[in-house]
């Protein structure tokens, strides 16, 4: 059984699960489902840049925050519908991503140093937005509660679920096409050995910037969705390191550089967090300890992630 077949089986299973969920779930469960999909979208976004192209990011909150702030400011200041603002935000995030990438790569930052630079950029953006009164400053921005579909607000959480599901599907389709294209091959080459790729004529800087921009687009879409769903953003929420971590963890658990890894990762980690949360209400902190232990265990015993492990296992069997 090859990777393609596993992918197909996974796709069908996930599609069935999502549809069933959309029909059955309600209230709290639906709320968790949405959290899962937000984590999955962030995970897929991180996957493009870090999983496939190997440019490790610790600061995905930058793109998330820019998406959230662009659409929200356009809406509250100029009355532009978040449906449009969402794409403006995506473009803005792509531009910022390119700028960050260009500056970093121009000064030859690589690997860990690049990761640290992304972390610094996230913090810089948080401080800028925290201190700019026009952008709401530290008090944040509240999105008026209107319940109007044209303004990206819905009475039912099911609609939100459907929208974020479409966004996750779009990110996954993008990755599926990317891996089959020249772009994907170039990115994999860059990840494996940047010098060798350059020697073979791959324009390393260009492809790295494309990867960052594409990644930023999906993170920004997640940002807009987040602000519309929760109705309130402030710099310490959307530019938080917690958001950057939320982008990384599903990939690590599910398998970075795999098509469905981040989806499985998000599907595992968010409900698990909730279970730990509910199961240990009397002793605070146990949920966090369990969460930490699990991540550590995955990194040590299953560095390829769930999906990476499945694919490896299948390929090994075939090789026999």
């Amino acid at each position: 059984m090859n990777t393609k077949k596993i992918n197909n089986v996974t796709l069908i299973s996930l599609a069935v699960l999502a549809t069933a969920f959309l029909i059955v779930a309600d209230g709290y469960i639906l709320c968790i489902g949405i959290s899962v999909l937000i984590a999955a979208l962030l995970g897929q976004s991180w996957n493009i840049m870090s999983g496939y192209a190997g440019q490790f990011s610790f600061g995905h909150a930058v793109f998330f925050g820019i998406g959230a702030y662009t659409s929200t400011l356009l809406y509250t200041m100029f009355g532009v519908s978040p449906w449009i603002g969402m794409f403006v935000g995506a473009i803005a995030a792509a531009l910022v991503g390119s700028a960050i990438g260009f500056l970093s790569f121009r000064y030859k930052l690589r690997d860990d140093y690049f990761a640290l630079a992304t972390l610094a950029f996230a913090e810089i953006f948080r401080i800028i937005f925290n201190n700019t009164k026009v952008f709401g400053g530290a008090s944040g921005i509240l999105i008026p509660y209107v319940q109007n579909a044209a303004e990206f607000q819905f009475a039912s959480d099911k609609t939100y679920f459907a929208i974020i599901l479409v966004l996750v599907a779009a990110a996954t389709v993008f990755i599926a096409f990317m891996t089959r294209s020249k772009l994907g091959l170039n990115l994999v080459a860059i990840k494996a050995n940047q010098e060798a790729a350059a020697a073979l004529g791959v324009n390393v800087l260009k492809y790295k910037l494309i990867a960052i921009s594409a990644s930023a687009v999906f993170a920004a879409l997640a940002g807009t969705f987040y602000s519309q769903y929760y109705g309130f953003i402030d710099p310490s929420i959307v530019f938080a390191s917690a958001i950057s971590v939320e982008a990384i963890v599903p990939c690590i658990i599910g398998g970075s550089g795999t098509l469905y890894g981040p989806l499985l990762g998000a599907l595992l980690i968010i409900p698990l967090q909730e279970i730990c949360n509910s199961a240990f209400t009397s002793i605070s902190g146990v949920n966090m300890i369990l969460y930490g232990v699990l991540i550590a265990a995955f990194i040590i015993f299953c560095p390829d992630g769930i999906y990476g492990r499945i694919i490896k296992f299948a390929n090994k069997k075939r090789g026999k």
Partner: protein, 400 residues
């Protein structure tokens, strides 16, 4: 092939199981009236979150020991907000799923914003325990109520109470405040209204609450040489600030905190004792002359082995206000309860203010802070007069 498929099917089944497990809610005993509590029980704000929950439990126990609400017992359902906005929204949904009749929370303003929206959507009352942001009740929501003073109330209290300590030779003021929503909100409000005090602002120094030292900020502050210093921040950062000026033996004529997380805290006086003598703080506090206060303070000490952190009095009061509304409503129906809350007029409480009463936005119209001063290593309320436990002692004469 078959094996892989079965592995995948197993995985999916696991996920479904996990989801259904998370959905399990224990609403087996439907004889009780459930109230939801959303506070940070993990992370940097866990201490305050836990204290709020503890004092809520005291209130619940008190009500149940005295016959409950119209014969029904109260039950507090506590869910960790994880200190994040997203976590609070999920927690709110979870509690709504458990059929709570009202939500309480959340200690931080960002979380409170998100929960108030969730409550509005679900049409269930939300009583804020602690969250000071001025914008919180500016949404036109009908289901949100707040007992504690907002940043604007604290700021205007400052302007009003200042006259009691300010002497004619005090002319300059400098602010040192943390740069989030809360510190900035207060500092900027006072800045806008500074003309009413007749003072001149010589410095606005902001810092991040997570800073590990405030050394350079304090150096800058000393060089500005203000007559009045106004520090605004949370516990840990303001402790750093206090430590810095105590260690350097800097004597400002007057240090007045506004909603200062450290100065009003029992841990702070336990640490610095008489070294912190003279510091003022305008903050929330209990009414020392209410009998109920005595009960709350001693019960907290007995049960949890320490003095009650001041923020926690709002945990207790939130339950009392809800209980009062539930009694009058005679039902847990959300709309009836909301109506009863809106009509609240509660004279007996532990707060240093008149009756608890909400305006149409849900703000407690009589909310007010008091001014405390640390004297002989203890907190003493010095203003307003009706709640005062002692006289103001000015540390030294302002320089000429």
């Amino acid at each position: 092939m078959k094996r892989i498929v079965s592995v995948l099917v197993c995985l999916i089944l696991c996920f479904i199981m996990m989801f259904s497990f998370t959905g399990c809610s224990d609403d087996s005993d439907s004889g009780t009236i459930k109230i939801g509590s959303i506070h940070p029980l993990t992370g940097s704000m866990a201490y305050e979150g836990q204290a709020l929950v503890n004092s809520q439990k005291i209130a619940v126990d008190y009500i149940n020991e005295n016959g409950g609400i119209n014969g029904k017992m109260l039950e507090l359902k506590v869910v960790d907000s994880l200190g994040t906005a997203g976590g609070s929204a999920t927690a709110a949904q979870k509690l709504i799923n458990m059929n709570v009749c009202a939500l309480t929370g959340t200690y931080t303003s960002g979380s409170a914003q998100v929960v108030s929206r969730t409550a509005e959507k679900a049409g269930i009352p939300f009583v804020v325990t602690v969250a000071a942001s001025d914008t919180l009740l500016k949404n036109g929501y009908k289901y949100s109520f707040r007992i504690q003073p907002s940043t604007v109330t604290f700021s205007s209290n400052f302007i009003e109470y200042l006259s009691s300590v300010k002497t004619d030779d005090m002319k300059t003021v400098a602010f040192i405040y943390e740069d989030s929503n809360y510190g900035t909100g207060i500092a900027e409000y006072i800045e806008e209204h500074i003309d009413e005090t007749g003072l001149e602002i010589v410095g606005m120094i902001s810092y991040s609450a997570s800073a590990s030292t405030l050394s350079s900020e304090v150096t800058k502050l000393i060089s500005l040489d203000p007559d009045i210093v106004v520090p605004i921040g949370y516990y840990s950062d303001q402790s750093l600030f206090a430590k810095e000026i105590i260690d350097r033996k800097v004597e400002f004529p007057c240090v007045i905190g506004v909603a200062n997380g450290a100065f009003s805290d029992a841990k702070f006086t336990a640490t610095y004792g008489e070294k912190a003598d003279g510091f003022f703080d305008i903050n929330y506090r209990y009414n020392p002359y209410s009998e109920e206060t005595e009960y709350l303070l001693s019960t907290y000490r007995e049960k949890y082995g320490e003095e009650i952190p001041v923020c926690a009095i709002y945990g207790y009061e939130s339950i009392m206000v809800l209980a009062d509304a539930l009694r009058r409503a005679g039902t847990t129906d959300a709309e009836a309860l909301r109506q009863a809350l809106a009509e609240t007029e509660m004279g007996d409480h532990v707060l240093p203010q008149g009756a608890i009463k909400f305006d149409e936005t849900g703000e407690n119209i009589n909310s007010a802070g008091v001014m405390i001063q640390i004297q002989n290593g203890k907190h003493v309320i010095v203003y307003p007069k009706e709640y005062a436990e002692g006289e103001i002692i000015l540390k030294k004469e302002a320089k000429k």
